[in-house]
């Protein structure tokens, strides 16, 4: 066991995957010699050589397209898109190619690739370094979409993603890279070394794909969250004193409906939170599923707390970011209803 930041855990996951399977290759912009602008691939080129970890031209479509070709050949590419905000040029390769290859070729060809990308806000990155596009991926058949909330999960989930035989979009909440973040930006950053989920086992382990984790058991209301918002949800529960059960989804496709249903049936109330914009966000899917499957157990209408339907702002980041105050207010509202 070692205490790791999320960056170190992600690096370690790739290291473990590369050492166990020489078919794993890692590439993307600045990931080779420099080890990535967030340093998530630091040292991998030195350890595994240029052939297995290298810099690419700045062409996201090329990065994912090449990965599809390599995956079809039989390699397991794990590629980095420098920011999720820059994945759009690759969208065609992801949606029309990687996601459908298995189906359209009757499994003659598959795309066992992992596409890593930093996601989310909290770093004054403005509209081109803060987006949370998970719903765009979740909407596509044939893609798995994962979002870890801590170093332990990040490593175990990334190893699972790389070993998965289907394409996985692996969204890394960049605001969590160096420590848990509960939305209070003026507080000093707590490092992962002070957090129990910063404890990361050495070597190989996986976190099962599509399995949620309960971060705080509770009886009064269920909060469904992933990524950074898990920590915000925990802070909101703490502050309001409301006995919320915080469910960290970890993977949105596939989705752990069993855990979600059990929790909502128990509490009868639900708040869904994400940083991404509201309209047609993944929260809409969650609320639809809850309405259908837990309807007779609900004591209040579910509420979504999300980013607003505007481009991600620069100066007004903290008015935009759905922090603990907004989540807390939603908790009170669902508790007051009926």
């Amino acid at each position: 066991m070692a205490r790791m930041t999320m960056i170190e855990a992600i690096r370690d996951a790739q290291d473990v995957a590369m050492s166990r399977d020489e078919k794993v290759v890692v590439f993307g912009q600045d990931v080779g010699y420099f080890g990535g602008v967030f340093r998530c691939t630091k040292g991998l080129q030195e350890k595994y050589g240029l052939q297995r970890c290298f810099d690419t031209p700045i062409n996201e479509s090329g990065i994912v397209g090449a990965a599809v070709g390599m995956g079809a050949y039989g390699l397991r590419p794990c590629v980095e898109i420098q920011f999720a905000d820059y994945m759009y040029p690759a969208f065609d390769q992801i949606v029309s190619e990687a996601a459908r290859l298995r189906h359209r070729s009757n499994k003659d060809f598959t795309a066992p690739l992992t596409i890593r990308m930093p996601t989310g806000g909290g770093i004054y990155g403005g509209q081109t370094h803060s987006q949370s596009p998970e719903a765009l991926f979740a909407h596509v058949s044939g893609l798995k979409t994962m979002i870890p909330s801590n170093p332990y999960d990040a490593k175990g989930m990334l190893i699972a993603a790389i070993e998965d035989d289907d394409p996985v979009v692996f969204l890394e909440p960049k605001r969590l890279y160096n420590g848990p973040f509960d939305g209070y930006h003026e507080k000093a950053v707590t490092p992962w070394s002070k957090h129990e989920l910063g404890e990361v086992p050495e070597g190989h382990y996986t976190v099962p794909v599509g399995k949620a984790a309960i971060r705080r058991p509770g009886e009064a209301v269920t909060i469904l969250a992933y990524g950074t918002m898990v920590h915000v949800a925990l802070a909101a529960a703490e502050e309001t004193g409301i006995d919320a059960e915080v469910v960290d989804l970890r993977s949105i496709v596939p989705l752990d409906m069993e855990t979600i249903e059990a929790s909502v049936r128990k509490t009868g109330r639900c708040v869904v939170v994400h940083e991404a914009t509201l309209t047609a966000g993944f929260g809409a899917e969650l609320v639809a599923l809850i309405s259908q499957h837990c309807f007779w157990h609900l004591q209040a209408p579910p509420i979504r707390v999300t980013g607003y339907d505007t481009p991600y702002p620069h100066a007004h980041e903290w008015e935009y970011f759905p922090g603990p105050v907004r989540v807390g207010a939603a908790l009170k509202t669902v508790m007051e209803a009926s």
Partner: protein, 410 residues
């Protein structure tokens, strides 16, 4: 039968890395004044070599030599020098302001000032740049107020973009400066579209696209070339080859092609390389390309050969991927020092006047900065109302955004 080779993947690497001695011995510096100045209606195939040579006007003594040495008047040379000095002084103050926490982010144009300052001097009012984030010289040269630039950087109450955009992502239609996007390459093709519109509309304005060496790898770069070629769009397509794309050396984007400019040849677009640290040469080549566009001959591709002397941005530390002294060894020198030397050689400038100008510029930048800070900085003082987040998403605020704004209580 020949036996098949066992493959291994070729991955290009730069000549030197941290700890090595910088080595530009393979970079041949052509003699100033030797490249022919063709007529502006020339066909791409007739100036094939221009995509591989480097057009240079200022020689080692600062004299303007050769066929491209024409058109830069005394006052224009002095204005160019002042503009470049202003950009550098502005950059250094704003870099410091970022370090002091007054803004979140900054990007300098250090060492590349001639490219945008000289280019803008060759445009006419109404022409439109589609710039990258490193072309602040276009704004400074076009007379855009430094105060507005600083207000934007500070995201303060007078920020023309109301705190919506990252620092340095300026926008000014009035000054021919299209709104900067953080997404690389997207605007290269938009410049061509703007130029096509100018043609459709029977206008006489031209557009200029901008892209970095690294970003030429994006598909949009190729989109721009094919549209510009097919529709003979009245535009100038600029590649700023500053040798680096964050940590990646230019060989990663260039592959085995000898130059970035040579990419244009396959599209039948006249393509030229110019010494990007030679203000005079950039100006002359830009004038040539503008005239070409104005006369209806279509697009020109220009590769500006320069060097990114500073870090990529305030988030970057180049000592992790290139030798610390590489910038100092860059064989094309410093653009400000070279134009200064030229102006002195021309008899219109002196060391004393230079020093005096430097002091004036620095104090003007500092004075403007103080004024800007009265309008607030990112974390202190006044700024746009958060209500503003909801404005301009659409022309009119739709009901769902009205509701969200109400719920936000702002």
């Amino acid at each position: 039968m020949a036996t098949n080779r066992i493959f291994s993947l070729h991955v290009p690497e730069p000549e030197c890395r941290p700890g090595d001695t910088p080595d530009f011995s393979k970079f041949e510096v052509p003699v100033a004044g030797e490249v022919v100045r063709p007529p502006v209606d020339v066909d791409a195939e007739d100036i094939h070599d221009h995509a591989y040579d480097i057009i240079r006007v200022l020689d080692d003594d600062g004299k303007a030599v050769g066929p491209w040495a024409e058109g830069l008047e005394d006052d224009e040379a002095l204005k160019g020098l002042r503009d470049m000095m202003t950009v550098r002084s502005f950059d250094s103050r704003m870099l410091m302001a970022q370090r002091q926490g007054k803004t979140s982010f900054y990007m300098q144009a250090l060492g590349e000032e001639a490219v945008s300052c000289a280019f803008q001097a060759a445009l006419s009012p109404g022409d439109m740049n589609f710039p990258t984030y490193r072309q602040q010289g276009l704004l400074v040269t076009s007379g855009y107020p430094m105060l507005d630039m600083m207000n934007q950087i500070y995201s303060n109450s007078a920020d023309p973009l109301h705190g919506r955009q990252l620092p340095i992502m300026y926008s000014s239609k009035e000054h021919g400066f299209f709104s900067i996007s953080g997404n690389l390459g997207t605007q290269f093709i938009q410049a061509v579209g703007w130029a096509m519109a100018s043609a459709i509309n029977g206008d006489s304005k031209i557009a200029a696209g901008w892209i970095g060496d690294g970003a030429t790898a994006e598909s949009d770069f190729h989109s721009a070339l094919v549209f510009a070629s097919t529709f003979r769009a009245p535009c100038i397509l600029n590649i700023v080859n500053n040798q680096w794309a964050i940590s990646t050396f230019q060989g990663i984007a260039r592959g085995r092609a000898a130059t970035f400019a040579s990419r244009g040849l396959g599209f039948g677009i006249p393509s030229l390389r110019v010494d990007g640290n030679d203000f005079y040469a950039v100006y002359a080549v830009a004038k040539w390309a503008a005239e070409r566009a104005h006369l209806g001959h279509g697009a020109t591709l220009i590769e500006h050969v320069t060097y990114r002397a500073g870090p990529h941005s305030t988030s970057d530390d180049p000592s992790g991927y290139r030798p610390k002294t590489e910038a100092a060894d860059w064989p094309l020198g410093d653009p400000i020092a070279r134009l200064k030397q030229h102006c002195i050689a021309r008899g219109i400038w002196s060391e004393e006047r230079h020093e005096q100008a430097q002091a004036e510029i620095d104090s003007e930048v500092i004075r403007t900065q103080k004024e800007a800070e009265k309008n607030g900085t990112l974390h202190d003082g006044p700024r746009a109302s958060p209500r503003d987040m909801f404005e301009d998403v659409f022309k009119e605020l739709p009901p769902h955004l009205k509701r969200q704004r109400q719920e936000a209580g702002i």
